[in-house]
């Protein structure tokens, strides 16, 4: 199995979720994060003092999938999350050795 991690722009969440469920992905986990990268936050002024915003709000999606789905899933995320603008985010894929559904104790692909 694979563990896919995607960093996306927050307002893209619903689109990504929809296209993933279209692929039959049954579940995923979302975390609010702040991202540092090429996309710099606009520089702000607060009470007359200018300051640079280094971190930009992002959402991190974590999706455990069957290895077979890897390319489809990565591709689906790219399409749904892409705006062509800097700061669209990344997709990372790691190897997932084991998965278990707590409720049933099922393991492997059935657990996803």
């Amino acid at each position: 199995m694979k563990f896919v991690m995607a960093i996306i722009k927050p307002f893209k969440l619903d689109e990504v979720r929809n296209s993933l469920s279209a692929l039959g992905v049954q579940g995923l986990t979302v975390t609010e994060v702040k991202g540092y990268g090429r996309q710099k936050g606009q520089s702000e002024i607060y009470r007359g003092a200018e300051y640079a915003v280094h971190f930009v709000p992002k959402l991190k999606l974590e999706i455990a999938i069957d290895s077979a789905q890897e390319t489809q899933v990565v591709e689906a995320i790219r399409e749904a999350a892409g705006t062509g603008q800097i700061g669209d985010g990344k997709v990372f894929v790691m190897d997932l050795q084991q998965a278990m559904r707590i409720r049933t104790g099922e393991t492997g692909a059935e657990a996803l």
């Binding site: 307002f11 609010e32 702040k34 709000p57």
Partner: protein, 442 residues
């Protein structure tokens, strides 16, 4: 009034009686009369001052209500809009508004236009009337601001700051004062027999109409209505909205009570007391009505609807808080609550995006309250009420449409889609309301 008559009557009685026995009647009369006059002058002025600071505080109520009902990314903007509009209202109403509304209307359609033409009584000397000029100005000024606050809530989360402030200039400096003059300035609607004791129409409907026009011209928030579905955009801070509602409720005692305009006699102060009690009961009726109705219709209560219900109850009783008995007050207010429960989803069906529910609360309940006057005030006629409602509606809709459209096609009124998604706090004013509570969110 009756009572002041009684009083001067007795003063006269005294005068005459004394005349019979001495040449001192004048001094005597003058003394008693002056004591009585001075006392009632102080009472009347004090009423305006107390009423004025209570209504002024409503600006905080609107600010908190709106800040609580918008999403966190637009909260700073809502705070800024509210403190700015209150400030602009005060300056505009001094600059041209008060004169337009109150000087030399005599049955006409507007008062005199003069910049800074309005002056207060000289230091140490009061007015020759029965209250201080400045106290009246202060009280009336606080009403103008309320009108503008109504607008800011409806058009929240997508309207740019400067166009809003410019609209506020026109609303508080021209639209409200001119239309206000028709009734309170002793203009043609006064003569037509229109009745609006404290402003269900003059203040609340006018604000509501301006808000409605703004909402239509501006369009709904992005993502609010997607393929026929209504996508709720949740209030970010319920206790803040609750606080705002309580503050408005408090301020309403000044709003309605001080609209009696005099407190120097047993009759006046007792009428103010009736108004206080009725105002409170109407708001209570509005709340209870929404509770019961929400339970019946949805099987669940909704605190934001209960808050709107309280305000709708208050708006409903505002056109006539004096003549209803307690039970009538409860019923009039309850009807306001019912209006809210039905009107909020209705507006969504029409894709009119009213962020805080100001249109049902101030416009619809305001119309209802103005009509309801006829049930308890024998002096009011349905025709005159409808006529008045129509005049205010047409004028405000046309005039504010002109201003909104002029702004739209010049400097533009709406932020870009990205800015809207990012939130007005960061795109327009660069200060997030809760930078630490919304870690990771725009």
């Amino acid at each position: 009034m009756k009572y002041s008559l009684n009083k001067s009557a007795s003063v006269v009685a005294l005068a005459t009686s004394l005349t019979l026995i001495s040449g001192t009647s004048f001094a005597q009369d003058a003394t008693l009369a002056s004591v009585a006059k001075e006392t009632s002058y102080v009472f009347n002025t004090l009423l305006f001052l107390i009423g004025g600071f209570l209504v002024m505080f409503m600006a905080a109520g609107f600010a908190m209500l709106e800040a609580g009902l918008v999403r966190s990314k637009n909260v700073s903007m809502q705070c800024l809009k509210n403190i700015s509009l209150y400030s602009i209202a005060g300056i505009m109403y001094y600059w041209i508004g008060y004169n337009l509304m109150y000087t030399g209307v005599d049955g006409g359609v507007m008062g005199s236009f003069s910049l800074f033409g309005y002056g207060f009584d000289e230091v140490g000397k009061g007015s020759t009337g029965s209250y201080s000029t400045a106290s009246d100005w202060f009280f009336q000024m606080a009403f103008v601001a309320a009108t503008a606050s109504i607008v800011s809530g409806t058009v929240a989360e997508r309207l740019k700051i400067w166009p809003f402030l410019i609209f506020t200039v026109f609303l508080t400096g021209i639209i409200y004062p001119i239309s206000g003059s028709w009734h309170w300035g002793a203009g043609f609607l006064k003569e037509a027999g229109f009745n609006d004791f404290a402003g269900s129409t003059i203040v609340h409907s006018v604000g509501g109409w301006a808000a409605l026009v703004g909402a239509i011209i501006l369009g709904a928030r992005k993502g609010k209505y997607v393929d026929g579905r209504v996508v709720p955009m949740l209030a970010s801070n319920i206790p803040l909205a609750t606080l705002g509602t309580f503050i408005l409720w408090l301020g309403w005692f000044g709003f309605n009570g001080a609209s009696q305009l005099a407190m120097g006699t047993i009759g006046d102060v007792s009428d103010i007391s009736r108004i206080f009690a009725n105002t409170n009961l109407a708001a209570a009726g509005g709340v209870v009505a929404t509770l019961v109705l929400m339970q019946i219709m949805y099987g669940k209560l909704d605190v934001t609807m209960a808050l709107n219900g309280a305000l709708a109850g208050l708006v409903s009783i505002t056109a006539e808080p004096l003549t209803p008995g307690p039970l009538a007050a409860i019923l009039i207010g309850s009807a306001g609550g019912v209006i809210v429960v039905f009107a909020v989803p209705l507006l969504d069906k029409l894709k009119i995006d009213d962020v805080v529910g100001a249109i049902p609360v101030h416009l619809f309940a305001g119309i209802w309250g103005t009509i309801a006057v006829v049930f308890t005030n024998s002096g009011a006629t349905l025709s005159a009420q409808l006529y008045g409602i129509a005049c205010y509606g047409v004028f405000t809709v046309v005039f504010s449409a002109i201003v909104w459209l002029a702004l739209k096609y010049t400097i533009g009124i709406r932020v870009s889609e990205e800015e809207e998604a990012l939130g007005l706090d960061r795109s327009e004013i660069g200060v997030e309301a809760y930078p630490e509570f919304t870690f990771g969110r725009g």
